[in-house]
């Protein structure tokens, strides 16, 4: 029980300078970045990754698929900044071009799970009854499996391609969003403003969509950002074990897998750089998640 609360409530009105939503967002952004340099770092890295994802093929110095028998397993030099792999392909070009695929898979999977999980979870949490019980059982079934094994199974059953990696990642991620959305809607279901919305002529569906959901989006987006890192690892992991992405497509997971056989022989550049790219992406998304929490909901800033 903090003794500061009675004072805080009356004395702490955040400075109101902007009255538009965008203005408030920019103001909060400036504030959060000033307080937390790490968030700024994370955003910069992510922006860089997005740029690489979009412009990768044009920025890469070499064709990622071009092999060169004479320059196999060459260590990093000025000619090849990240060295070359077992087939003489330039590592840096491959890592850069792979950004699009890895980020793309993760973003699609998370976006899908987020939307479907939100829709199902919000409905279950609000309407309850058979709907909630049924959906709950479905989600429990998914969670009963070791998730990665389930993903493996789904890809193996549906076919070995990128789309199926996305679908598998989406399915194993679904319960997480479902539960979160359901919990958040449950908290708000009996609040005064929802009853007021019903008094004001909103049907239950409208009350849910227009009045409750906008309030749960900020915490859900924080979860999505934190989840993104995991989704990248998941997609990379499936490719690592040979499901999904096939050679010679450049993708971080498959590159780590190809380079892993070189651990003993010492050609560290074949697995280290794609591994580092994975670490960087996951790390930045996690930092972003923390920063997002502060950015989107100023009242919850700690």
């Amino acid at each position: 029980m903090s003794a500061i609360d009675p004072i805080a409530r009356s004395a702490f009105k955040p400075p109101v300078r902007a009255s538009s939503a965008l203005g408030t967002l920019a103001q909060n952004a400036r504030y959060v970045f000033a307080e937390n340099k790490l968030t700024l770092v994370a955003v910069v890295i992510l922006v860089l990754l997005v740029v690489l994802a979009i412009l990768g093929p044009w920025l890469a110095p070499y064709d990622p698929l071009a092999t060169d028998g004479t320059a196999r397993l060459a260590p990093p030099t000025l000619k090849h900044w990240f060295g070359t792999d077992a087939l003489g392909r330039d590592m840096m070009s491959r890592v850069v071009v792979a950004t699009r695929l890895d980020l793309g898979m993760a973003v699609s999977a998370v976006a899908l799970s987020f939307t479907v999980g939100l829709a199902l979870g919000a409905s279950g949490g609000y309407f309850g009854g058979w709907l909630e019980r049924g959906l709950g059982r479905v989600m429990d079934t998914i969670m009963a499996f070791p998730l990665f094994v389930l993903a493996m199974g789904i890809v193996a059953a549906l076919g070995n391609n990128v789309l199926n990696i996305v679908i598998a990642t989406m399915i194993i991620n679904l319960p997480f969003y479902y539960r979160f959305a359901r919990g958040e809607v449950n908290i708000r279901r009996d609040m005064g403003y929802v009853e007021a919305a019903r008094m004001g002529g909103n049907s239950p569906m409208r009350a849910l969509m227009h009045h409750i959901v906008p309030n749960i989006l900020p915490p859900m987006m924080v979860q999505a950002s934190l989840n993104m890192g995991w989704a990248i690892l998941n997609a990379a992991g499936l490719s690592y074990i040979g499901l999904g992405v096939r050679a010679p497509t450049p993708e971080w997971g498959i590159m780590v897998s190809e380079g892993a056989s070189n651990i003993i022989s010492g050609e560290w550049w074949t697995f280290m750089f794609p591994g580092a790219a994975l670490v960087l992406a996951v790390f930045s998304f996690n930092l972003l998640g923390d920063g997002l929490r502060d950015l989107l909901d100023p009242r919850r800033r700690t």
Partner: protein, 342 residues
């Protein structure tokens, strides 16, 4: 009326004390000033707060949200937020200077000599421990009782707070008890070691009015029979009016008036007290007689006027802006912090 410079408030209050009775006070808070360092600046939560509590007396501290009444209570107990800085002042409890005491010394005093009960009794108790055992914990820590006697003493404590069927209730968990029962348990815990003073922070807010009456009667009766001093923190002036011997009114971190209850209610000297009385619904008021207090609480960060009620006061004079804001003694048991009292 004698104006006393604020640094000498202990003299003014000491006069009040000796006029009232011939025993030394149990608690003396002198010129307490406290700040919170916060993100947007420094919050001046308390400034030059002074009051006394005699032995066996019930003193009420009345104020609205943001007045600092809870902060003061927590400071006395030594439980205030780590972000707080005490700028000035002294708190003397039964001869001991609390602000100069170490954490170990405070831990000894808390529970044995000085106890506190809180709002929301069900959340203030440990939800996964039987209530009887929680009382035993207090006894074990502070009283020299043999282990085999602990249960007996705990049941006696439950009896003292008039809980029916105390042997059975010993084994109850907080969620099995009503709000009123939980508050009784908390009082039992607080009084287990017969402390010299009880601080009650909004003990009946959230309870039904019939339960509130019973709990307040209990506190009053126990206070009288054990000659225990009580500091009652509340926002309800009517409640303080019925149960307290003296009342201190707080506004924005200041004690603005401190007087015997009847005097305060009949002849308030501070404009805020008068307006607070006029705004409180009683069985005798009507909607048209109910007044409101203009303006809002001043922002406790940044530059504050010398008198924090100044911008809401109809009686403000240019003199009110001159520092320091003095204490004025109206009579033997009535002090007010105002340049232009009623």
């Amino acid at each position: 009326m004698i104006a006393v410079p604020s640094g000498r408030v202990d003299t003014a209050l000491a006069d009040v004390v000796t006029a009232h009775s011939d025993s030394r006070p149990q608690l003396v808070v002198e010129s307490l000033s406290l700040d919170f360092k916060a993100r947007h600046g420094t919050v001046s939560a308390l400034e030059d707060v002074s009051l006394t509590v005699q032995r066996g007396e019930i003193v009420g501290v009345v104020g609205e949200s943001g007045s600092g009444k809870s902060v003061m209570a927590y400071t006395v107990m030594g439980l205030v937020d780590p972000a707080a800085r005490i700028r000035a002042g002294r708190i003397t409890f039964g001869g001991t200077d609390l602000l100069k005491s170490s954490e170990a010394e405070m831990a000894e005093i808390r529970g044995r000599e000085l106890a506190m009960i809180f709002q929301s009794p069900r959340t203030a108790l440990n939800p996964i421990r039987k209530v009887g055992l929680q009382i035993e914990d207090v006894l074990r820590r502070h009283a020299a009782i043999r282990s085999q006697d602990l249960r007996r003493h705990a049941i006696q404590a439950l009896e003292r707070v008039r809980i029916p069927d105390p042997e059975r209730r010993f084994d109850a968990y907080p969620f099995e008890l009503s709000g009123g029962m939980c508050q009784r348990v908390m009082i039992a815990m607080a009084l287990a070691c017969s402390p010299a003073m009880l601080i009650a922070d909004e003990p009946t807010t959230g309870l039904d009015v019939t339960t509130q009456a019973v709990i307040m009667d209990l506190i009053r009766d126990l206070s009288r029979s054990a000659r225990m001093s009580t500091l009652l923190i509340t926002h309800d002036l009517g409640l303080a009016g019925e149960y307290c011997d003296r009342i201190a009114v707080m506004h924005a971190g200041h004690v603005v008036e401190f007087a015997a209850t009847e005097t305060l209610l009949r002849e308030p000297a501070h404009p805020y007290t008068q307006q607070l009385l006029a705004a409180t619904p009683t069985p005798r008021s009507s909607v048209s007689t109910l007044t409101s207090i203009p303006g809002q609480l001043p922002d406790l960060r940044g530059n504050l006027p010398v008198c924090r009620f100044r911008h809401r006061c109809e009686r403000a004079l240019p003199l009110c802006d001159e520092p320091p804001l003095p204490w004025t003694r109206i009579s033997a048991d009535h002090v007010v912090r105002c340049r232009n009292p009623l």
